[in-house]
């Protein structure tokens, strides 16, 4: 049932334009690999651990091939030859490389590897574990009650995984459905994933496989106590995007922040690197049934939320099509948007509601991720509580799926345990009070809300057809998103991008794609 009476033809045209934009980029993506994609392949072959200098084994091997061999052939090439010659496992080979007892560059000039089947049992073992994790999650979700109101999502960010666990358990007990562990802020620019449990981070906690495991274990315990499945989220963004998805899939993370453009715009990561990495990440997320969260909300913390609302919608269309390229089911596409209009604006709530209802109507099967006010939050925590209440009303009324709760102390510090509890109480009250409100109301034809939704859609349509003409790279150069301009051949991580050699092979990627195609009946 359409509440906003949006023009279906325009929506269809937006999707078609976005598909052209994504297809254009995909034909580029398919030609390349990156250091992080290759490190992910090693992780999926079971390579783990660090050397004496705390350098992850996967980095040791990829750096070795990069400096002495030719990474354009892919790690599978070198690994399969070495396994054939030495009859050893990928982990054992990595250790030999680390101890400088093996030089993989001897396979540099060999033809396309005929020994790929040697890799199969190793990645099947890891993929099997990922499938078990997916099954565990699905069993949980079948067992527990499914509610129709938005899932309450809160963040923990103490820097210390053990402290995070206390805060996460408290949040779960106060009704949180989803816990995100914010990463230490420098991590997106590290070209390796730190190892082990960590207790020091700023503005967040390092994403490591051990930290994932510790938090998942704690949340499983509280899930049992509460008889609700508490989902865990981390960040598959930055220079190690695909590796983090691999680790998350192994440790049963349920959601991952994974935007196709965020790293380019806000972290100045090279656009080629990001787009290639996001593709592998999303194929793996699709395989592991991990919900992705896209980051359109971020545009509005920089640009004005009223004037640039259409850039959010345009980006949602683009993110949707990139996800489709990765064979992702719509039920896993957590497209992002946010409640960021200046509270001093007259009728700001109406415009917010228009945007939220519009997103819901255009993306009916997608678990939309709705972000709270941040830009216009001040030290006035009491007013902030009211701002968050209005946001909560918009979230429940427009039936958002993933409801990231606003913190009254947003502008002051990373949340105290009590800030989070108050936010959960606020959201729970509104969830109850407004439960069926959205079903009861209809909007006035040609009223402010309908007009606004129509206008944003029209602007997004115009923007998408412009991007289609110019191509995505050029658009990013022009600074269309968030007013930030990026260039094709600048930004971090460019040196880790490789044009695939004619002998390049990636059997794990192929295996996942094949399985997904069967599953999706493509």
């Amino acid at each position: 049932m359409s509440k906003l009476n949006l023009n279906k033809n325009i929506i269809q045209e937006c999707r078609m334009d976005a598909r052209v934009i994504a297809t254009d980029i995909q034909s580029f993506i398919d030609l390349y690999t990156t250091v992080s994609v290759e490190r992910s392949v090693l992780r999926l072959l079971g390579v783990d651990g660090v050397n004496d200098f705390n350098v992850p084994m996967v980095n040791v091997v990829v750096d070795h091939i990069q400096s002495k061999g030719n990474l354009a052939k892919g790690v599978s090439h070198y690994m399969s030859y070495a396994m054939y010659d030495l009859m050893k496992t990928p982990q054992e080979i990595a250790e030999l490389v680390s101890k400088k007892k093996l030089d993989l560059s001897v396979y540099k000039d060999k033809e396309r590897s005929p020994y790929l089947e040697l890799l199969t049992p190793h990645f099947e073992k890891v993929l099997c574990r990922i499938e078990e994790m997916t099954k565990t999650r699905n069993d949980w979700l079948k067992k527990v009650e499914h509610k129709s109101t938005p899932s309450k999502y809160v963040i923990v960010a103490t820097g210390n995984i053990y402290e995070d666990i206390k805060q996460a358990v408290s949040a779960a007990k106060k009704g949180a459905d989803i816990i995100a562990v914010i990463r230490s802020t420098g991590q997106s620019l590290l070209d390796f994933v730190p190892f082990g449990a960590t207790t020091e981070g700023f503005g967040g906690t390092f994403a490591t496989q051990e930290n994932f495991r510790l938090m998942r274990k704690a949340l499983d315990e509280v899930s049992l106590e509460e008889n609700r499945y508490i989902k865990l989220v981390n960040y598959a963004s930055g220079l190690c995007m695909p590796e983090i998805v691999a680790m998350g899939a192994i440790e049963r993370l349920d959601m991952m922040l994974n935007d196709s453009l965020y790293g380019i715009i806000f972290r100045d990561i090279n656009m080629k690197r990001t787009l290639i990495d996001q593709y592998f990440s999303r194929v793996l997320s699709s395989y592991a049934e991990i919900i992705i969260n896209t980051g359109e909300d971020n545009y509005l913390t920089t640009s004005d939320a009223f004037d640039h609302a259409h850039t959010v919608l345009a980006s949602q269309f683009i993110n949707e099509q990139f996800a489709k390229k990765a064979l992702m089911d719509e039920s896993l596409m957590g497209l992002g948007h946010a409640y960021e209009i200046d509270p001093n604006m007259e009728n700001s709530f109406l415009y917010e509601l228009a945007q939220a209802e519009m997103a819901r109507e255009i993306f009916p099967n997608h678990p939309l991720k709705y972000m709270p006010p941040t830009k216009h939050m001040t030290g006035d925590i009491f007013k902030g509580t009211v701002q968050n209440a209005l946001f909560n009303i918009a979230a429940v009324t427009s039936k958002q799926s993933i409801h990231l709760l606003g913190m009254m102390t947003e502008a002051i510090h990373t949340p105290f345990i009590s800030d989070r509890a108050l936010a959960l109480d606020n959201a729970a009250y509104i969830e109850k009070a407004f439960k069926n409100f959205g079903d009861e109301i209809s909007y006035k034809p040609d009223g402010i809300i309908m007009y606004r939704a129509h206008q944003v859609l029209t602007h997004a349509h115009a923007l998408l057809s412009e991007i289609k003409q110019e191509g995505l790279f050029k658009t990013l150069e022009k600074g269309t998103f968030a007013g930030i301009s990026r260039h094709e051949n600048s930004g971090k991580g460019l040196s880790g991008v490789y044009l695939k050699d004619s002998s390049y092979q990636n059997p794990i990627m192929q295996h996942m794609i094949m399985r997904l195609k069967v599953k999706n009946h493509v």
């Binding site: 206390k166 007990k173 700023f202 503005g203 972290r267 345990i417 509890a421 007013g483 930030i484």
Partner: protein
């Protein structure tokens, strides 16, 4: 000449009643013992007759309290001093006219949110075209070349860029902080400037929710701006000080 002593206390509904409200978390379960502990804690803070008006459980190990009470403390308002930016704030147009009149070339202002802080709302509010709360940002000022480097900029990179762009003024924003990391970060930038013998080359200004002018001076900055300060406040201070120091003046 001594001023008349003027003692004050918080005000609830009767002058000098000393009424205040507190909220905090204790690392113990929520029960009668917890409430008593909360009261005792408030008493130790100098609050008479503390009343725990609300308590709730945050988990098996943590509990939250809202407490009202009466403060026994009072202060003489004459003992309170404020370190404030002394320059008079001018409107955007006045700043532009001031630049036109006094300087021979455009003023270059470079800004960033530094260290681990990824939040750019503060620096964007001051620098970006759009500005904040109806006050245009520095990018829109005639006579000012504004360069916003964005978030998570390392101190070393900020200095490098400031030298590259021949900046006159450096703006540093610190928005969301944790365990006072912002103090450490701001201190290390001044140390860096001094170590590189560049401190005198720039006017350095900091801003953010927990920044004030007193703190800025204490850390060795020229000025600090907290909440409710806009681009025109920052611009007024910068151009006034540049004129005083005869930088780029006609």
């Amino acid at each position: 000449m001594s001023k008349e002593i003027k003692m004050i206390r918080p005000y609830g509904d009767t002058l000098n009643d000393g009424k205040i409200q507190l909220s905090f978390t204790l690392p113990i379960p929520c029960n009668a013992l917890g409430e008593e502990a909360a009261k005792k804690f408030a008493s130790k803070m100098g609050i008479h007759d503390p009343a725990v008006v609300h308590s709730s459980s945050l988990s098996n190990d943590f509990s939250y309290y809202v407490v009202y009470g009466t403060s026994s403390q009072q202060i003489d308002i004459n003992d309170v001093t404020v370190v404030e930016v002394e320059s008079k704030a001018m409107h955007k147009e006045e700043v532009e006219a001031f630049i036109e009149e006094n300087f021979k070339e455009p003023i270059v202002i470079i800004g960033a949110s530094t260290g681990t802080d990824a939040h750019t709302v503060g620096i964007d509010a001051i620098m970006n075209m759009k500005g904040y709360a109806g006050h245009y940002g520095l990018e829109r000022y005639k006579g000012i070349k504004a360069i916003n480097l964005g978030g998570q900029i390392e101190n070393e990179v900020l200095l490098e860029k400031a030298l590259e762009y021949k900046a006159d003024v450096i703006l540093i924003s610190q928005t969301v902080t944790q365990k006072d990391i912002h103090i450490q970060n701001l201190t290390s930038f001044i140390e860096l400037l001094e170590a590189e013998h560049q401190r005198d080359k720039f006017i350095v200004i900091i801003g953010g929710a927990r920044i004030n002018h007193g703190l800025a001076k204490e850390l060795g900055y020229d000025a600090g701006f907290g909440p409710k300060k806009y681009a025109f406040d920052v611009a007024s201070f910068a151009v006034t000080l540049m004129k005083q120091k005869n930088i780029k003046t006609k």
